[in-house]
Symmetry: C2
Subunit: 344 residues, 2 copies
């Protein structure tokens, strides 16, 4: 059997089980013992440092990769933006726990023919977002490779308990911390009409090229007592499905509640709902909790935060989309499975 | 200009300068500030955790990548060994500072046609060495890629100051903590005579397939007051050159002092010195210090530890090889430059 037959979830389940089953002991004996607070199965791992592991500080550790031809093309993502985005996806994983990003290592796989000036642009993009978010690039690795790939490993730190994917319960509300679909709209615009100018087009392209992870918002969610969250990186329907799967519940999304930026609606009056459901790379946070708490938190947030759905009993991971007329349809897999058969 | 014209050192120098020059401020303001004890330019970064950063504990952070066709082929490295080795190189980077490995994230770039059973073998290899060295795999990322690549990011912890590459001084002795060339001999054996059996052949192949990073030895070096070290991953001459370059000094290696295992000498009586100088992937540690201290430390170590050279004033990074008759030759680049023109 090949991994494309097993699919992404199947492969991840298999490897996660192996890692947990095979793990021996509790660390390096006297010198060091594991104090994991978030283990395999989330986007970010977390542990309590120190001998006791009882402190309220958690250290975070995450990694994310972009491969040419799979996650980006040089036509729609210039090197400068590639640098920004390769760190943004990792910062967003730390933000989704409620943490601050701290130190990053950058691994570059590059063909020997790569232009030095392109490499400089890539690093400029990484350093711009590093400075904006107060993290330091402390090293990395560089290897020859027939295709460009960029892997970033990022540590983070936080006070309190990291938010995780496993806490959604039937009756909870589902909310997002900002507008959905703008990044997907920007990509669509670049693919369809490369030269359009104006405030709305610039906003959409900027949303795709320079996403801003929700670090401050993540911290405020933790302070407000939210315990279940993740970031919207693959698309709202797909990411909510992952969260529901991890929590053993089903979810509903009401399309007329999806926060769509006016600029996105102007450009794509027909397609904006699909972009909000499946566009990906919005890097807002998605969170769940008891209705009173979620409503209260959403009211305190600005920039498009909205209650968009609810959690229910049902097949784990199954998402139902409810349109403005009340029609219910099962969400197709609008995100993408890295290894499974292609879907539209 | 393309990166192959600039070469590995040129590219690394350029990026390191950019990272340091462009770094703004000192971290996330009130919440977090950088306390780096080892910054860009070494194999592993290190920092003192906590608000003061004055503790004697250092946290370590390193990453290393293997790319199919560049660092390994499936003919000489089965999946099980690939798993072991992909973690071994990272553990060795932590060992070279004097640290203990703690948590790992694994990024896999894989073609969709990868067999699930091969993936299981890969993880078995990683879990075997993880358990042997008391570290935990806590997550990772998996992406579709036309070539197999494996990137591991690893954290570590240590008491005391990490050993670095920058402290070699003229008059220091150069020592290694174990036999050199066995891994290269094992590879040569596999490439030339795949079916040879017997204790010596098994030992050499095992040295190549299952290298054992020097974690305990690294800790004892720190306890003995050694402050300058790195691991031998690219080959003794090449790695000493890197250490000398970082320290602004030259070095000499005496070929008749290189610790060569009897099994390697038996198999390759002619080639064993070249293998010891340039074979790579031995994962012993290379360290320098004042003669009395280095002699004392070497006497306390078993398993092939030996004084093999000395540090002198001269062109930074220039290595002279002195043979048994006293003839001196400049060491050619026996390691390899990832992006520069091919050398023999």
């Amino acid at each position: 059997m090949q991994i494309k037959d097993l699919g992404e979830f199947g492969v991840i389940d298999l490897l996660t089980r192996m890692v947990i089953d095979w793990r021996a002991g509790s660390g390096n004996s006297q010198s060091f013992s594991f104090n994991l607070t978030v283990d395999n199965g989330d986007d970010t791992a977390a542990w309590s440092p120190g001998p006791s592991g009882t402190g309220r500080v958690n250290e975070l550790f995450t990694t994310d990769t972009m491969v040419e031809g799979v996650h980006f093309t040089r036509e729609t993502t210039p090197w400068l933006d590639l640098g920004w985005k390769s760190l943004a996806s990792n910062i967003s994983d730390v933000a989704s726990m409620g943490g601050l990003p701290t130190y990053a290592l950058v691994t570059l796989g590059l063909p020997s023919e790569t232009e030095v000036s392109d490499l400089e642009s890539l690093y400029k993009g990484m350093l711009q977002i590093s400075n904006d978010y107060g993290l330091a690039i402390v090293g990395g690795d560089m290897v020859r490779s027939p295709v460009v790939f960029i892997t970033v490993a990022l540590t983070g730190v936080m006070r309190g308990q990291p938010m995780v994917r496993t806490g959604a319960r039937p009756g909870d509300l589902v909310a997002v911390t900002g507008h959905l679909g703008s990044s997907g709209g920007g990509l669509k615009l670049m693919l369809e009409r490369t030269s359009e100018a104006g405030e709305a087009a610039d906003f959409l392209r900027e949303s795709h090229r320079r996403p801003r992870p929700a670090v401050a918002v993540g911290q405020s969610l933790v302070e407000s007592g939210i315990t279940t969250a993740m970031d919207v990186s693959d698309g709202m329907a797909d990411d909510l499905s992952k969260l529901c799967r991890a929590s053993g519940v089903s979810g509903k999304i009401f399309t007329d509640r999806l926060p769509v930026h006016p600029f996105l609606r102007d450009w794509f009056p027909e397609g904006c709902v699909d972009l909000a459901l499946g566009g990906g790379e919005d890097y807002v946070l998605l969170f769940t909790g008891p209705p009173a708490k979620v409503n209260h938190v959403v009211a305190s947030l600005s920039g498009g935060a909205a209650v968009v759905g609810e959690i229910s009993v049902g097949t784990p991971g199954q998402i139902t989309v409810v349109d403005a007329l009340g029609n219910e349809v099962a969400a197709s897999n609008r995100g993408w499975d890295h290894f499974g058969p292609a879907q539209d």
